[in-house]
């Protein structure tokens, strides 16, 4: 009787201690936590002061918002970049219809061509990122199993070299396959090709000061094309499962070839 309990105890303890040194995981969690806490104040207001604090906060937010809108695109706004998924994804039912970003820092229009093998939806449209979800027929609906095309920017950016340098320096759970000259949708780029074959992972990618992108999924390939536009450096991020990556990259290229920057 007792022997089984001892075996279970010993087994669980050995199981807990087994495995590689979690240094990489520690670094990844620290990076992620650093990004989260950089986005907000270190302490929250005491409840007693909540009401006046909210009023002051609203006034401040209004002032900051106005200053933001009035400021030029090239100003130094150092904000963490995280693509917040919008609650209701917008299906692009009609292939060939132009899609405009309403809030991306560099206003853009693109058109989803017919026959790319995906149902395309706008998954996020924020100041920093415009994200399309490329849903293939065999997607199970599990998070992280579909392919995505993300277009990312920061007005404070930076150079192609610095983006790639930060990306490479911060890689965890992801292998860099190489960095080379390439093109996507007619834009000359430097591309960082990466993969993660660790099974289900949640990985963070640093692209510059305060710029962070997260991705999760099973056995992923990533291509980060860094291109220079008149509005600054833009990262075109393609993210898909291994077996689907080539198809996703081709579709991303076709979509990117329709991209127009609006003035």
């Amino acid at each position: 009787m007792i022997e089984l309990e001892q075996q279970v105890r010993q087994h669980l303890r050995e199981r807990a201690e087994a495995g590689p040194d979690p240094t990489e995981l520690r670094a990844a969690v620290q990076l992620r936590l650093g990004t989260i806490t950089d986005e907000r104040p270190a302490t929250r207001p005491q409840r007693l002061w909540l009401v006046p604090a909210v009023v002051v906060g609203l006034i401040t937010a209004l002032a900051v918002g106005l200053a933001w809108v009035a400021s030029p695109v090239g100003s130094d706004r150092d904000i963490a970049l995280e693509t917040d998924s919008i609650a209701d994804r917008v299906p692009l039912d009609v292939a060939g219809a132009p899609v405009e970003s309403g809030s991306f820092a560099l206003p853009l229009t693109l058109t989803v061509p017919d026959g790319i093998g995906y149902d395309v939806r706008v998954a996020s449209d924020s100041l920093r990122a415009f994200e399309l979800s490329l849903d293939s027929e065999r997607d199970t609906g599990e998070p992280g199993e579909s392919a995505t095309l993300r277009i990312l920017t920061s007005p404070s950016l930076l150079t192609v070299g610095s983006v790639l340098e930060d990306l490479e320096a911060g890689l965890v759970h992801t292998r860099l396959l190489g960095i080379e000259d390439d093109a996507i949708g007619g834009y000359q780029s430097r591309v960082a090709r990466m993969e993660s074959d660790l099974g289900m992972t949640l990985a963070g990618f640093k692209l510059g000061p305060g710029m962070f992108l997260s991705a999760s999924g099973v056995d992923r390939r990533y291509d980060a094309h860094v291109i220079t536009t008149t509005g600054g450096v833009v990262v075109v991020w393609i993210d898909a499962p291994f077996e689907e990556f080539d198809q996703a990259a081709t579709a991303a290229g076709e979509i990117m070839s329709t991209l127009r920057w609006r003035s």
């Binding site: 009787m1 089984l4 309990e5 075996q7 279970v8 105890r9 087994h11 669980l12 303890r13 050995e14 199981r15 807990a16 201690e17 087994a18 495995g19 590689p20 979690p22 995981l25 520690r26 990844a28 969690v29 620290q30 992620r32 936590l33 650093g34 989260i36 806490t37 270190a42 302490t43 929250r44 759970h173 074959d197 660790l198 099974g199 289900m200 992972t201 949640l202 999760s216």
Partner: protein
């Protein structure tokens, strides 16, 4: 990183990795659980009196959630997928105990892990699992009985 969060991270990170591995083995799933728990903690640390306890409960619940699906449980416990492990446990005794643990419900397994790995009392285990002390006693008893019933004679 905010001071309190940094303190909790430094004091709890290694324990949370071990706890997740006790449930899930040295797998990418275990790493993901640890990442998820700390990210959630960062969002509410100012509201918590005992962030360490909250973190432990979150890790346990997240591990349970991942083990709940039978197919996934089979994959993690029975096949012992350890894609990032350089030192996975795989001797005969461990395989034997794994084969016994796979027979348990997720609540029974959680009660046994908390009792035999963390040496939690039934009261402490009850707090983490959100049930009564008597239920914990019953889960542990039932789990061990189930394991004994499949021990080859």
């Amino acid at each position: 990183m905010h001071d309190r969060l940094a303190f909790v991270f430094e004091s709890e990170f290694d324990d949370m990795v071990r706890l997740a591995r006790a449930f899930l083995g040295a797998s990418a799933d275990a790493e993901d659980v640890v990442m998820t728990a700390f990210v959630r903690l960062a969002d509410r640390i100012d509201d918590l009196d005992r962030p360490g306890g909250w973190l432990r409960t979150t890790v346990v619940n997240e591990c349970r959630r991942r083990l709940r699906d039978h197919a996934r449980r089979r994959r993690i416990w029975a096949d012992r997928v350890v894609p990032i492990s350089s030192g996975g446990v795989s001797n005969a005794r461990d395989e034997y105990v794994d084969d016994l643990l796979v027979e348990l419900s997720d609540r029974e397994r959680a009660a046994i892990v908390l009792t035999y790995y963390l040496d939690y009392s039934h009261e402490e285990t009850a707090v983490v699992l959100g049930c009564r002390r008597g239920t914990v006693k019953s889960l542990v008893h039932r789990g061990l009985k189930k394991m004994r019933s499949v021990v080859p004679t």
